[in-house]
Symmetry: C2
Subunit: 436 residues, 2 copies
């Protein structure tokens, strides 16, 4: 099998055992990119020679960390010192940061080989769209704003990639590309060197092709006890499935995915209970939008002043508060979020994990509309870790995932639960499996 | 009078009226720096030629914004594209960011002339101390971590400067240097390009020598309605003076400052009421420390991996969670903060503004200990805007300020209140007044 088809955890084990070199792995991924990316368009920049040179150096030395020799894609709203960083903005085409973003630095010093930068919605917020297409059907979006990272991992061009989530930019593309994604607890991973959209929402996450892949990266980021907790027995688990307050937006394929996940888990011996969120949670989706838009004022002021008319009108609308959000509305949104964070964690006394949709259904057609974040935004606002797991294939032949959710700073526990639940939930996406 | 002794608002008016050039103002500040800074040690870097050239360009063109032609100092934990940025860290001595931090970009594009970078505690967090001395008595600290910015504005070397506050790093130096300082609402000013310590606490602020100075900068940052609200009549105001839960740490000079402020306001016709914060607020100081230390884990992981033993042990302690803070403790701290934010704002139905100590008393002796942030940390955690106002002179001849505090996103209202209250409160620091 071509090394690019291995999961990150499998490739790491092969490298550790001397069965695979980082160079061979990187060359395999680069060949896959060369073959596929002219149509998928996941990457804005790839530096082959640099990646191969880095892999060769890693092959000569003792393991640097949990990501030793593994390829990594970086969403191009995250700074890299040795590659252009454009934020997919026309006004940043020549930008070359002097320093890696904190997350890129951690990945590199844990042994990762950065292959390049992946396409994104401009500033991961608005304005210019990514050109990336869904590798399963080029007429469809891979989701956004982490479009390129999701598609590249889904298309087996790279094992691991960074995405970010302010509304639903990380977990939704995981669903649309049939891959695994972790959006950690807000604040657990430094955002230094990533373009800011909404201060109290932006979260850096990563994609992989198995829960073990995600755990490798979580170990590099020192998420408490990541990898140290064993996977519990599925039959010992009480899973709370949750339609969320946005169920009116579910599509048949999304409904089927949630039902399938529940049925498979029940068959494997898990206890399933329905979780209906308290009425206060009904306001969270609007609160997330209020906070995102209002916080965009401060985030885009400097570029609005610097670039004037050259900057997309979407960002000027944020800066001028075109929606007319009042301080009172913003504070009410913050207070509601705080109340619901506390309430959500209190609910956990009654079950082990929440299972809920990761997207309304399959990826929509076209690349302008990257899909609805309505099943993601409330969890982003709650600051809780979310783990996207592939689940079913919809009527258009595209993947549909679900997500599991844990309390804040329960990232390691969530990964351990995912290790147990994913083999039961993820049974229909063989094209994305290493053994395909 | 030498232009360096003008307040920023006075200088701006003179420039607008054609009575003063930016070049003359900048040259006056640079001369003051040359004369004084070998002893004060506020600056890590000054670029005279560049500042003069920038001023000359501004003198030739139409006003760029509210800060047109005014000199500005930048705390050296904030990135500048045309000057070194060291974070006062031995491991960043050669760092040259490719881009201005967002706040520096906004200041420049509002017409400010950046004179240079001011000394700070390493990463504004721990490790190496600033060398800066209190310009009023070189045997004493100017406070920290915004040591250089506070001292430079206090010593009339520059009219305006950026500081930052995670615990009490901005308002405490304002008190110790007899100057004005605004710590805006958390989130109202982008921190992009400022070194991160604690994600949910770090706030960029600025110093000036009058409330009008602070309002000029607030206008540049588009803080809602800044400068548009008129100063209310003092006799119409109900001022809630608050010992805060940390009153056991007050020193005689700090107590005297609060008493003097109350007495002066009462004499001017304001209604004074005592505010005793609810018991829940007693836990805020410890909660702030828990959050600051816990969030430092993510913030310093990349530099810990990059620099290893070359990095100060203080930062490795954060990364390894040497205090053993549990997720449960961290979440409890977040929840307490959220509860108190809401409770604090509800209290405002009964008065117009809170008046409370800005520091325990005068600046302590030495430069290692920059003073206690116990009268600042709870307000930082509450995310509320704080305005530092000079008030009295203590027994050692050093200034002691107080602060006024408003609800979140009440920055413009706080500045308008400050415009009314400051002339009444600030009556004892003539050495720092423009007319001295």
């Amino acid at each position: 099998m071509e090394p690019c088809f291995l999961t990150a955890a499998e490739a790491a084990a092969h490298i550790r055992d001397g069965k695979l070199t980082s160079e061979a792995l990187i060359r395999s991924c680069l060949a896959r990119i060369e073959a596929r990316d002219p149509r998928v368009k996941a990457w804005l920049y790839v530096n082959k020679a640099q990646a191969i040179a880095a892999a060769r150096e890693l092959d000569k030395r003792a393991p640097m960390g949990p990501l030793h020799g593994l390829p990594f894609g970086v969403k191009d709203m995250i700074d890299t010192a040795d590659m252009p960083t454009t934020y997919n903005s026309p006004v940043f085409q020549d930008y070359r940061p002097a320093r890696d973003a904190a997350c890129v630095g951690v990945a590199r010093r844990s042994g990762a080989v950065i292959l390049g930068k992946t396409d994104t919605l401009e500033f991961a917020a608005a304005g210019r769209r990514a050109a990336t297409r869904n590798p399963k059907n080029f007429a469809h979006t891979p989701g956004g704003s982490s479009s390129g990272s999701g598609a590249a991992v889904g298309d087996r061009q790279v094992q691991l990639a960074f995405g970010t989530q302010t509304g639903g930019s990380h977990i939704r593309p995981a669903s649309f590309n049939g891959i695994y994604g972790l959006k950690p607890t807000w604040g657990a991973v430094s955002r230094e060197g990533a373009k800011q959209y909404a201060n109290s929402l932006d979260t850096i996450g990563w994609y992989g092709r198995s829960v073990a892949d995600l755990t490798l990266v979580a170990t590099a980021f020192r998420l408490d006890d990541a990898g140290a907790l064993g996977a519990p027995a599925v039959s010992s688990l009480k899973v709370a499935w949750c339609k969320s307050p946005s169920w009116h937006k579910i599509e048949p394929a999304g409904e089927k995915a949630l039902e399938a996940a529940c049925a498979r888990l029940a068959k494997a011996g898990a206890t399933l209970v329905e979780l209906t969120l308290p009425p206060a949670f009904d306001g969270l989706f609007e609160a997330q939008n209020t906070i995102m838009m209002a916080e965009g004022r401060a985030s885009f002021l400097d570029v609005a002043l610097e670039f004037g008319d050259r900057l997309h009108a979407d960002f000027h609308e944020r800066v001028t508060n075109a929606l007319g959000i009042t301080p009172e509305q913003l504070i009410a949104a913050y207070n509601l979020a705080a109340d619901c964070r506390r309430a959500f964690e209190a609910l956990y006394a009654d079950f082990d994990v929440v299972l809920t949709p990761a997207s309304p259904g399959e990826a929509p057609e076209g690349t302008y509309n990257t899909g609805n974040h309505i099943f993601n935004a409330i969890w982003t606002l709650l600051h809780v870790p979310c783990l996207g797991i592939p689940c079913t294939t919809g009527p258009m032949g595209l993947p549909v995932g679900i997500q599991i959710v844990a309390p804040r700073y329960g990232d390691a526990r969530l990964l351990a639960l995912g290790e147990a639940l994913a083999p039961v939930i993820d049974m229909e996406t063989p094209l994305y499996r290493a053994d395909a």
